[in-house]
């Protein structure tokens, strides 16, 4: 199973700032290994975020998102104790879901 995400969600005025770090290689498919063999593309393609169960954001990513991806966004009206859930899915079909509580 993929390693967990790190999600921080902190109230900032009328919204909560959510910062997400994901553990992923984000291989472009353009690199070669020491033996000269192409390293196959392996990257997160889809990301979604929900706020108390309601989807607020979805994203499509290409391989040019940096390794161990970072994403930041502001959830309107989120208050301390609210739940933020983030899910990603990569091009091999692997997926990971983690949750954070707004502080």
């Amino acid at each position: 199973m993929p390693d967990p995400m790190r999600i921080r969600a902190q109230v900032a005025g009328p919204a909560a700032t959510v910062r997400v770090l994901m553990s992923h290689d984000m291989e472009t498919g353009l690199r070669r290994d020491a033996a000269g063999k192409v390293i196959p593309a392996w990257f997160i393609q889809e990301v979604t975020a929900t706020h108390n169960g309601k989807q607020v954001l979805s994203a499509q990513w290409g391989p040019s998102i940096a390794k161990n991806p970072f994403m930041q966004f502001n959830v309107k009206g989120a208050k301390a104790g609210d739940k933020i859930v983030v899910t990603w899915k990569d091009n091999k079909g692997e997926t990971r879901t983690d949750e954070a509580t707004v502080t």
């Binding site: 390693d3 967990p4 995400m5 790190r6 910062r19 770090l21 994901m22 553990s23 290689d25 984000m26 940096a66 390794k67 161990n68 970072f70 930041q72």
Partner: protein
């Protein structure tokens, strides 16, 4: 987590973002531009991912003996993690050796969990159990964030390790005649745009020995001090230093003792 450091980091990051959003920006020096770039990365250090993984590993029953590392003695007594990082390398009576954080972790993995220490030492960085050693080191270091380096030098072997480390630091060799000192014995120098810490004395809070383990942006890898030293020697055009070998530990003792009083920010984020 040290509050002041956190606040400082957030302030720097915020300043970086604010600066970045001020448009149109006037001509900025390359140095300012790089500082702005670094500030923008400071908030959201992927080292967090490795720190969380390391904490999990410490508390997970693993290895042939299906044991956790919670009884591992890092020099502060069994299971005491906080404060251990800023006192390593140090002398350990059970192994009759001066050990750095990583070699000590491997000792614990052998004695408590039944892993083969020699096998781990032979494993390449970033593979097999080495991945776990790095994650563990990242977490252990993070538990001393904000504390000041204070390596013990009371044992004759600790003093000897310092003296060996000092000599190795100045040891010139390889095809290019480089030593550690070639790059790290003068104030305010840099390679390309990277500032080089002065390592013959305390280089300041969160600089040099007080910054590693660190997340390396250039390759997206978590680098422990052993790997940091290993790659220094690679770029010195030296042969390969063994993992946990006497000189790598001695260099740690030399840098750690020199850094006395420096505040640790490890795990940091680096180019």
């Amino acid at each position: 987590m040290n509050k002041n450091l956190l606040i400082a980091a957030v302030a720097v990051a915020a300043a970086g973002l604010a600066a970045a959003q001020t448009a149109p920006s006037g001509p900025k020096s390359a140095g300012d531009g790089i500082a702005e770039y670094r500030a923008m990365l400071a908030d959201g250090n992927p080292a967090d991912l490795f720190e969380a993984k390391g904490e999990g590993l410490w508390k997970t029953k693993r290895g042939p003996k299906a044991a956790t590392l919670e009884k591992c003695d890092l020099g502060q007594g069994p299971g005491v993690v906080k404060g251990a990082f800023v006192t390593l390398p140090r002398w350990f009576a059970d192994t009759q050796k001066v050990q750095d954080l990583e070699s000590r972790l491997v000792t614990c993995m052998e004695t408590l969990q039944g892993f083969d220490a020699a096998e781990i030492a032979k494993t390449r960085f970033g593979q097999g159990e080495q991945v776990n050693v790095t994650a563990l080191a990242t977490w252990v270091a993070a538990e001393s964030r904000g504390l000041r380096f204070n390596l013990p030098q009371g044992h004759p072997e600790e003093k000897r390790s310092y003296e060996i480390g000092k000599r190795v630091f100045f040891f010139r060799g390889g095809t290019h005649d480089f030593s550690c000192a070639s790059c790290h014995s003068e104030e305010g120098k840099r390679i390309r745009l990277q500032d080089l810490p002065l390592l013959t004395k305390n280089p300041g809070d969160g600089v040099g020995f007080a910054a590693w383990p660190a997340y390396r942006v250039s390759n997206g890898e978590m680098w422990s001090m052993q790997l940091r030293l290993n790659d220094c020697f690679r770029q010195q055009r030296f042969p390969f230093p063994g993992f946990g070998s006497e000189i790598t530990v001695a260099l740690g003792t030399y840098m750690g003792v020199n850094a006395k009083g420096a505040q640790s920010i490890a795990p940091a984020i680096k180019r």
